[in-house]
């Protein structure tokens, strides 16, 4: 189980750090074209920021920001963005994942369409990696028994 964190230093520092970590994660995803980075690395950084949130605040408090259903949806939709980009190329009468076909709807040349295709794919990878990391962390750390509504009420009552 992940319990509510007690340490005020950890909570304050995490609260200050998390936005920067997430910003850096987004930067790594977006900057994969020019520097080391990309969807996998950026996704892991984003996921780490959310795990830090969970560790510092406990599942109860962090739940409103990281609901487990949203994580499930994100991991599916993330990979779907990847496969969907490929499928869009197929719908535009190209081969699967032939990003050059995206030039037809993006009004650029083939090379830049490929660049944008890579970007879209990296965003999908980032979403999926982030969501799966947090989801696996939740499942393993709680043994799969996510605290339900009832338990939550009981705990807040006890604390009060």
């Amino acid at each position: 189980m992940i319990y509510r964190g007690e340490d005020i230093i950890i909570r304050t520092i995490s609260r200050m750090l998390i936005p920067f970590i997430q910003l850096y994660g987004l930067y790594v995803i977006m900057h994969g074209h020019y520097s080391p980075g990309g969807g996998f690395q950026g996704g892991v950084i984003l996921g780490a920021s959310l795990i830090l949130l969970l560790l510092a605040y406990g599942y109860q408090d962090a739940k409103s920001r990281v609901p487990e259903k949203l994580l499930t949806v994100f991991s599916g939709v993330g990979v779907f963005i990847y496969a969907g980009t490929g499928f869009l190329c197929l719908v535009l009468l190209g081969n699967f994942l032939d990003y050059a076909m995206l030039a037809k709807i993006l009004h650029t040349d083939a090379a830049h369409a490929r660049s944008l295709g890579i970007l879209s794919v990296e965003i999908g990878v980032g979403m999926a990696v982030m969501a799966v990391m947090v989801s696996i962390f939740l499942d393993i750390s709680t043994g799969g028994v996510l605290p339900g509504e009832e338990e939550e009420k009981q705990k807040t009552a006890e604390e009060a």
């Binding site: 994969g32 990309g38 991991s75 994942l97 490929r114 295709g117 794919v121 990696v129 799966v132 989801s135």
Partner: protein
């Protein structure tokens, strides 16, 4: 039994090392790995994909289909964890 396992591990390692004997020298610019497909990736990535980072262009474009597979592996891992561990009905 433990000794037997140790012996097999040693043997496997020995075979792997035996295999390295004929390999091209480490970092050899004339090795097949750097001559066969790599030159195109290095020379053409900017022209063909407008992406200066060739690691990214290989990962997400030239061999993008493999990366989709790898992302699916990650997705499968996440779904498996939910499938096996999560008890509450979601």
């Amino acid at each position: 039994m433990k000794f037997f396992g140790f012996l097999i591990t040693l043997l496997t390692g020995a075979v792997l090392i035996y295999g390295t004997l004929d390999m091209p020298a480490y970092g050899d610019p004339d090795s097949p790995a750097s001559r066969h497909v790599s030159p195109r990736y290095i020379e053409m990535t900017e022209i063909e994909t407008a992406t200066p980072n060739m690691v990214t262009s290989i990962l997400a474009d030239y061999r993008g289909y493999d990366t989709m597979g790898e992302t699916t592996v990650i997705f499968t891992a996440g779904m498996s964890c939910i499938f096996l561990l999560r008890k509450r009905k979601s």
